[in-house]
């Protein structure tokens, strides 16, 4: 939690310079923590890998993301199962801050080391690795047709979507979240390496600056438009809300999809933001579009960001008004999106936006319901475009050292 207050201070001060200072402060702390007497900061600690649910969903959102979608390139079911077991063992080690396999050095000099080595000396950094299965995995190649959960639906085409197939879909996904970007990238890189010949990376996305919080007392972080969004996010500690909206219960998982009990459904959307035109938009219009003020993030007519919004006070096409659970029959998502920028787009425009990640027990009642309303009339649509899309069934947690990702599906 150490970086969080620093970040809040920064946001209050409201300066880019201050943000730089916070980053530098983090570096200093890291170096000092190399000393055995220094306490291990929360941001450096390890998140337990085993449990009833996969880590990386209700876990307090880490600062950085590397998300990768994979195509399975073999049609050999056994080989895929072997990979999932190997991935599980590697994930257990990496989330504990350890090296993959025999490590990064000290092995045969004639052979490449098992671990790529760039995370040597770094702390576990709250790394979580979360695996999901895409609808295309159930197309019959692996005899899984009958195991496809009825709730694993393809998303409908929403008006305004401009989806790039090369940034959409995937048979498998791995979400790597960590407080240190190098730790997250190391994890995906090593899993991809283990996977060569069985899976191939289809697309991947780096994220920074988490745009949502799953910690109840924390302020909602800002997106690249400078606004707080999703203040009504589900808290990772609210077990009742998680059961109601996020975790697939035993009763929800029926028939061939019984293996999904304890799992969740993930929607990933790459949302490009036209930041240059946004930045030329008058403040009042920006605030009207979101339905909040820019400084506090308070809903129209209110003082604090967590104040209950009075939706009718907002313009009919305001983002908050349309996205709010009250406007969508109570539809609530657990969001853990990240800002991204992949440099510029060749026209000098920032290739930036929001990599939206949302977990829910029912995609139709969750994301589809909300996005249908937003795609139709959200005032924000003038400044954003959905350019990538994927949906995944995220199985329950790996219980112990004998269990593996997807055992319920493949057994």
């Amino acid at each position: 939690m150490t970086p969080a207050p620093a970040r809040r201070t920064v946001l209050a001060a409201g300066g880019g310079l201050a943000l730089g200072a916070a980053v530098a402060g983090g570096t200093v702390a890291l170096t000092r923590d190399g000393d055995a007497t220094a306490p291990v900061a929360d941001s450096g600690a390890a998140v337990p890998f085993h449990g009833a649910h996969q880590a990386g969903i209700a876990t307090p959102v880490q600062d950085r993301l590397h998300f990768a979608a994979f195509d399975v390139t073999t049609d050999d079911r056994e080989k895929l199962v072997r990979l999932l077991k190997e991935w599980t063992r590697a994930a257990e080690r990496m989330t504990a801050g350890r090296e993959v396999g025999e490590g990064a050095y000290g092995g045969l000099p004639e052979a490449p080391p098992d671990d790529t080595g760039e995370a040597l000396g770094l702390k576990p950094s709250r790394l979580t690795l979360t695996l999901g299965f895409g609808p295309s995995l159930f197309d019959g190649r692996f005899g899984l047709k009958d195991r496809r959960p009825g709730d694993l639906v393809e998303l409908p085409r929403f008006p305004g979507d401009n989806l790039d197939p090369a940034r959409s879909g995937g048979d498998l996904c791995v979400q790597a979240c960590a407080d240190d970007p190098q730790v997250a990238v190391h994890a995906i890189r090593n899993l991809a390496r283990i996977g060569f010949g069985t899976v191939a990376v289809r697309w991947s996305q780096l994220g920074f600056g988490k745009t949502s919080s799953t910690t109840p007392d924390a302020q909602t972080p800002r997106n690249l438009f400078g606004f707080k969004d999703g203040t009504r996010n589900i808290a990772g500690t609210d077990a009742a809300a998680l059961d109601r909206h996020v975790w697939v219960g035993p009763k929800d998982a029926t028939g061939g999809g019984a293996w999904m009990a304890g799992g969740s459904y993930l929607v990933a959307r790459r949302i490009r933001m036209n930041v240059e035109t946004w930045d030329r938009t008058p403040l009042a219009e920006q605030e009207d579009i979101f339905g909040r003020d820019k400084k506090e993030g308070a809903p129209v007519g209110k003082a604090g960001e967590h104040d209950e919004p009075f939706l009718k006070a907002m313009k009919p096409d305001a983002h908050v008004r349309l996205a709010h659970p009250d406007a969508n029959g109570g539809a609530t998502l657990l969001r853990r999106g990240y800002s991204f920028t992949d440099g510029t787009d060749g026209l000098g425009r920032l290739d930036a936006g929001l990599f939206f990640l949302a977990y829910q027990k029912d995609v139709r009642a969750g994301f589809v319901r909300v996005q249908t309303a937003l795609a139709k009339s959200d005032a924000l649509n003038e400044y954003i475009q959905h350019v990538g899309s994927a949906v995944f069934a995220v199985p329950p947690g790996v219980r112990d050292a004998d269990d593996w990702w997807g055992r319920g599906l493949f057994s």
């Binding site: 923590d33 190399g34 055995a36 291990v40 600690a45 390890a46 195509d71 390139t73 504990a96 801050g97 350890r98 025999e102 490590g103 050095y105 000290g106 092995g107 045969l108 000099p109 004639e110 052979a111 490449p112 995370a119 040597l120 000396g121 770094l122 702390k123 576990p124 090369a166 390496r193 060569f196 010949g197 069985t198 191939a200």
Partner: protein, 384 residues
């Protein structure tokens, strides 16, 4: 060493920094005591702790006590590089490991990484302690050496067809003979490149020239002619001179190739390097950017890698049967994929790479990764 590190990790509850340092220290101490070969590099000296030691797997523990970044080489008497380590910072340690036969060698430190360096002569003693190689391994090396020589020998006449066409000013005939003239070279590239001076003469691309080199004067070899034929679309006196030069440089290669240093591990890692060539230059279409004959090179690289693998297979299969089975499968899969781009499976008439779409290139790249990753483990399976 593993035990030390594991204990450290447990005790410190994931303080990986310390664990790594502990592991590292323990390792270098142990090595230093056991093998006892240390190289102490300073700004004005290069001290080797022993001037005579047994041949075989040799580890040099280098410590840079100077003020400049240094590099350390082990050289054959004729200055061919056995092994090297660059960028050893002041106050840091590094290790060089190589399989070295009995004989006389030079150990060279280069403070500041420039100039001739500071040289020490060492003798590796041998016979009994030279790398023990089974008859199987010797046979594999001998067969591979033969293969390399045959590839070089067969290349010369094919190159002559190409250079003759250039000399005759026959643009179309030269274009037709271009890709075929490169196949033998591409199949044996790691060996060809081990003679550091030939590769830059015959196979360099324009962007591979060094600062200060003039493309008009200093750019020679296949790709210079490729540009003349496909982009400039003309053959002048200069191209005819370059054709003569290509003949001459490759004749030199053919003479020297038999003397190349080849070991089972260099064969194995050479196979992997051929796939690296594919992954970095061919899959991207950079290598043959004017002629778009990348798939011909691609196929030749794969064939050369497969030859090494086939020859090492009897040794590797004993140590890691699963790896060999995987490699068999992945070679077959990549060859099947490549076959899609040629109508005649016995010929080298491949689809022009500019006609290969983005999704197809991704598929080829995935195929290369699927083969190259297990192939990188072949050397370990050979020496295990």
């Amino acid at each position: 060493m593993r035990a030390v590190r594991t204990t450290a990790v447990t005790a410190l509850a994931g303080a990986a920094v310390l664990a790594a340092v502990t592991g590292c220290t323990a390792k270098s101490d142990a090595k230093g005591d056991a093998d006892g070969i240390t190289v102490t590099a300073k700004d004005d000296s290069c001290e080797v702790s022993k001037k005579e030691f047994p041949a075989g797997h040799v580890t040099l523990n280098v410590e840079n006590r100077g003020s400049k970044v240094t590099e350390v080489y082990v050289l054959y008497p004729d200055d061919r590089i056995v092994t090297e380590r660059e960028n050893i910072g002041p106050g840091t340690k590094a290790a060089l490991t190589a399989e070295i036969k009995a004989g006389s060698y030079a150990i060279v430190c280069k403070p500041g990484m420039t100039g001739a360096g500071i040289r020490q002569t060492v003798t590796l003693t041998g016979g009994a302690s030279a790398p023990k190689r089974s008859a199987e391994m010797d046979a594999a090396v001998a067969a591979y050496r033969q293969y390399v020589q045959a590839q070089a020998d067969e290349t010369l006449p094919k190159v002559k067809v190409f250079t003759d066409a250039v000399r005759a000013g026959d643009l179309e005939a030269a274009k037709k003979a271009y890709a075929a003239s490169r196949i033998g070279w591409e199949r044996t590239e790691p060996v060809a490149e081990s003679f550091g001076d030939i590769d830059p003469k015959v196979d360099v691309r324009e962007d591979g020239l060094e600062e200060g080199q003039d493309p008009a004067k200093d750019w020679t070899g296949w790709h210079r002619l490729e540009k003349a034929l496909w982009q400039d679309k003309k053959i002048t006196t200069r191209e005819k001179q370059l054709a003569d030069l290509l003949d001459k440089d490759l004749a030199d290669w053919v003479k020297r190739v038999g003397k190349a240093e080849i070991t089972p591990t260099s064969m194995a890692n050479g196979a992997k390097e051929l796939l690296d060539e594919v992954a970095t230059g061919k899959v991207t279409g950079e290598e043959e950017r004017y002629s778009h004959t990348d798939l011909v090179d691609f196929k030749a690289n794969v064939e050369g890698a497969q030859k090494s693998f086939e020859l090492l297979k009897p040794v590797a299969a004993k140590n890691d049967a699963a790896l060999v089975a995987e490699l068999d499968k992945q070679f077959a899969a990549l060859n099947t994929l490549l076959d899609r781009y040629r109508a005649d499976k016995t010929g080298y008439d491949f689809t022009s790479y500019d006609k290969v779409g983005k999704a197809q290139r991704k598929e080829l790249s995935d195929g290369v990764n699927a083969l190259a990753e297990p192939l990188s483990k072949l050397a370990a399976a050979v020496v295990k």
